[in-house]
Amino acid sequence: MQNVINALILGGIYVLISVGLTMIYGILRILHIAHAGIYTLGAFLGLSFYAATGNFWLSLILSVVLTGFAGVLIYRYIYRKVLDKEKIVSLVISIGMFTAMQELYRLIWGPYKKPFALDLGINDIRTKYFVLTQHQILILTVTAVVLLILYFLMNYTKLGKAMKACADDLEIAAAMGINVEYVISFAFFLGSALAALAGILIGVYENNVYPTMGSSVSYKAFVVIVLGGFGSLTGAITAGFLLAFAETFLVAWKGFILPRDAIAFLLMIFILIFKPEGLFRRVTR
């Protein structure tokens, strides 16, 4: 039972990070590795605002919005200039940005792990079968709420439909009168904001924030979008939870010698070789 809760939490975090990646890949076909840098930025901003104001919810909103705009800047001033170039160019740029971002955080906030201690004033839920700490309650609620909003946004608003249209075919979408620039910027904003949210939640949950916290996450998120079928939002959400469950239970089962990251990547390689369209193919193609 405790494993189920842990997997749900891990899955929620994976989903929050992957949503942005899968949207960006879906529309622009860019492997946005610097997304993990955005995630770290969110965590650091959240921590700094919290230290300055003492109000968690205010700093959460502030840092999520600011990080969202940072994502838009990355698109406007960097990716947009190389969209017509070979794809390796945007990939290398993304890697370069990720390196520079991690270094920048190290210079600003220092290389050490910083604690992110937060008391929400909620009591832990303790039963005979499982323990649910206040931070776990926080993560589960926030993820659930965000996923609901996302579901509504993608399916019942014009903007969500426009995003889907752009993911299907950018040029046709533009020809149909959709303001493509605006939609792409919004995708970067939303994706980066969700990544920032994930960064803050993880920071609180593990009680530390540090410059290289994005390193392993960045590539794990790609495992999620591969499993989910590139560019598919529901696929990414399902895959995020699936991966979290697979990892948690394989690690709990002691027979497996390799660490959990290796499990994820082995899984990804097998999927790519034998089922390259992912587990959940996009319905519209």
Binding site: Y25, R29, L31, I78, K81, V82, K85, E86, K87, I88, V89, L91, V92, I93, I95, G96, M97, F98, T99, A100, M101, Q102, E103, L104, L107, Y219, F222, V223, V226, F230, I257, L258, P259, D261, A262, F265, L266, M268, I269, L272, I273, P276
Partner: protein, 288 residues
């Protein structure tokens, strides 16, 4: 800067020239982006280190084995590349890199997280090579690899690679066997990375899993792309820049990775073909 220190940096740059050129075979010639090149580098290094310390093999036999094992694993990665393309291949190779490092780290035979220590210095004709001699030796090998590249560009192999790179379907339709040339490229690339691994193991005297982790793949990729994918001079100059730049930037050490990242972004924004590629900055200077 002492002479020994200079020779050490020189050796590293020689090793990375070989690595950059080997990645260039896959990326520049055959057009297959691999982001897990450090895995082959590591496989070569571990082969030599294990043979030298656990089985007492001499330098040249283990050098040969490193190359062969590297080629074999290159061949193995060539197989999925027949099915997995573009971004999918990029992700496959990233995954491969993580898996290989995890295997080095978690299986006792490979020494676990502490790696393998005690690789002896190479002995040539009964004499141990010092840092200076080793720098010369690696330099000679790097030179041989450059000659090999010039040779590849001259023979039919180059045309096969080019056809695969430009358009796989079109190449197939005029009778170029795409699988064959992809496998060739990956095998040659793996063999050269294995060679570089051997040189690394004997230079360091030890191997650690983290020496072959994903960031190393990134630096190799950076060398190739910075200099110019598909050229010979590009990866060589790229390797020189990437190994010497941090040494030159040492006085402002705290900022060097930041500057490194920014340089990569700027070069890609304004010189997407690399410094020595088509319309590259350095190329136009040399042409004048």
């Amino acid at each position: 800067m002492t002479l020994d220190y200079f020779f050490t940096v020189l050796t590293f740059s020689n090793i990375f020239i070989i690595l950059a050129l080997s990645l260039n075979v896959v990326m520049g010639y055959a057009g297959q982006v691999s982001l897990g090149h450090a895995a082959f580098f590591g496989i070569g290094a571990y082969t030599s280190a294990i043979l030298a310390t656990k089985f007492g093999w001499g330098y040249f036999p283990s050098l040969l084995m490193s190359i062969l094992v590297g080629a074999f694993f290159g061949f193995l990665l060539g197989l999925p590349s027949l099915r997995v393309k573009h971004d999918f291949l990029v992700l496959t190779t990233i995954g491969l890199n993580f898996v290989v490092v995890a295997i080095f780290k978690h299986i006792d035979f490979f020494g676990g997280p502490y790696g393998i220590i005690g690789v002896p210095r190479p002995v040539f004709f009964g004499k141990e090579l010092e840092t200076g001699g080793y720098a010369l030796y690696t330099g000679a090998l790097a030179f041989l690899v450059i000659l090999l590249m010039i040779y590849i560009e001259k023979i039919y192999l180059r045309y096969g690679f080019e056809a695969v790179k430009e358009n796989e379907d079109a190449a197939e339709s005029i009778g170029v066997s795409v699988p064959r040339f992809k496998i060739y490229a990956f095998t040659i690339s793996g063999a050269l990375a294995g060679l570089a691994g051997n040189l690394w193991a004997y230079q360091m005297g030890m191997v650690f899993p983290d020496d072959f982790s994903f960031p190393v793949s990134i630096s190799i990729l950076t060398m190739v792309v910075l200099g110019g994918v598909g050229t010979i001079s590009g990866p060589v100059v790229g390797a020189l820049i990437v190994t010497f730049l941090p040494e030159i930037l040492r006085p402002i050490q705290d900022y060097r990775l930041l500057i490194y990242g920014i340089i990569i972004v700027l070069v890609m924004l304004y010189q997407p073909g690399g410094l020595l590629g088509k319309n590259g900055l350095l190329r136009s200077i040399f042409k004048r």
